[in-house]
Assembly symmetry: C2
């Protein structure tokens, strides 16, 4: 499994290396505890140390590796870490919904509906990459609506990891058949419906439910692998 090249269009070498290493760490090709050397990686990718160095710093900021005095050691993203990642996602979206309560969400709801349409289209075309991207966009659109610089920054700091995790889990979901895919679409539709109800408590409940459900999906996915 490799990183979608379309997502690297116009990216620098450093960003490309970052993405590929991130994927390798998350899907377990690079195992926790392994140590990485700038020189070795640069040789592997056939580049100089500069872009590798950039990648290492980025991955360190994302918490996927730990920079030590000699060699960076892979931290990895096990089941526990993924759960914790979803903790933070819930924290963010819950906060955002709370903050948006009462404001005009008309344009937002239209955007979200459009994204759900695109998800269904991607499902019909059997395109998991596009599907995962729209899934990400759905949540990102909600978070952006809060117009809260720090929350947005927070999202950006986990965005790439979330994207990569989604990419992997979505491929699994697609492999399990139409029914599971529609289930994911339905989850988002319910979230949008709660938003349209306009009742803050209902929204909070549905966000809580969304992530509770994601937890069990994760457990399912984890126990399979």
């Amino acid at each position: 499994m490799s990183y979608p090249e379309a997502w690297l269009r116009g990216a620098s070498l450093g960003e490309g290396i970052t993405c590929q290493l991130r994927l390798q760490i998350i899907n377990g090709t690079l195992k926790p505890g392994e140590t990485l050397s700038e020189n070795r990686i640069a040789a592997d990718f056939g580049t100089s140390r500069s872009p590798v160095r950039e990648a290492m710093k980025t991955l360190s900021n994302e918490g996927l590796i730990r920079l030590e005095r000699m060699g960076a050691v892979v931290v990895g993203l096990g089941p526990k870490e993924v759960e914790e990642l979803y903790d933070v996602r819930y924290l963010i979206e819950s906060f955002v919904q709370q903050r948006m309560a009462g404001s005009d969400t008309g344009p937002l709801k239209i955007s979200l509906q459009r994204i759900i349409d695109k998800m269904e289209l991607a499902a019909k075309h059997g395109d998991p990459v596009e599907f995962a991207f729209q899934d990400l966009s759905f949540h990102e659109t909600i978070i952006a609506e809060a117009k809260h610089s720090r929350i947005w920054q927070l999202w950006r700091s986990i965005r790439q990891i979330v994207m990569t995790v989604m990419l992997i889990t979505t491929e699994e979901v697609f492999a399990e058949g139409e029914r599971r895919i529609q289930g994911v679409v339905e989850k988002h539709r319910r979230l949008l419906q709660a938003l349209q109800s306009g009742d803050p408590d209902e929204v909070q409940r549905s966000v809580r439910h969304y992530f509770d459900d994601s937890y069990v999906t994760l457990q399912h996915s984890i126990s399979r692998s």
Copy 2:
């Protein structure tokens, strides 16, 4: 006002430049909208572009500057952004306290008491830098206790900014006299007392109160400047 050199002991050039630029951005020496060039800054600091480049990337991750195609533009940290920063701090500490409810907080409480003692000592010695550092340590100790990798990562991503803001505000507090200083110590003592009560609701209330109080202090500090 300059960055405490003791905090840069053993740091690389890149980290040093990062800290100095961060301080200049936060205290307004570098104003929002200004554009920074790697070459110019490297010349200013008398170094090569490498450490400057590292600094730019770090500050960009912290959201203090925005990397564009040519030249990085200063985003800055106005009153609104500081408020938003405290939103996130509340989000973190509230979550941590919630998660720790019920677990054994014996050793934690001892650590916190020690830190408060050090704060009082720093107050007595009229040492705002040490005081700010202990203030930071207090909250960091609580957050570390949750043993939640993502929350910890999240804290690390704002830690330096929080530290710098604390450094600045603490100097202001010290300038306003003994009474204000003791007020800050008292705030922390109340937080610890709530923790010792063992009642989760009481803890949540006191955390909420702590940050509500911080908001008004910020408003006060902001309206003065």
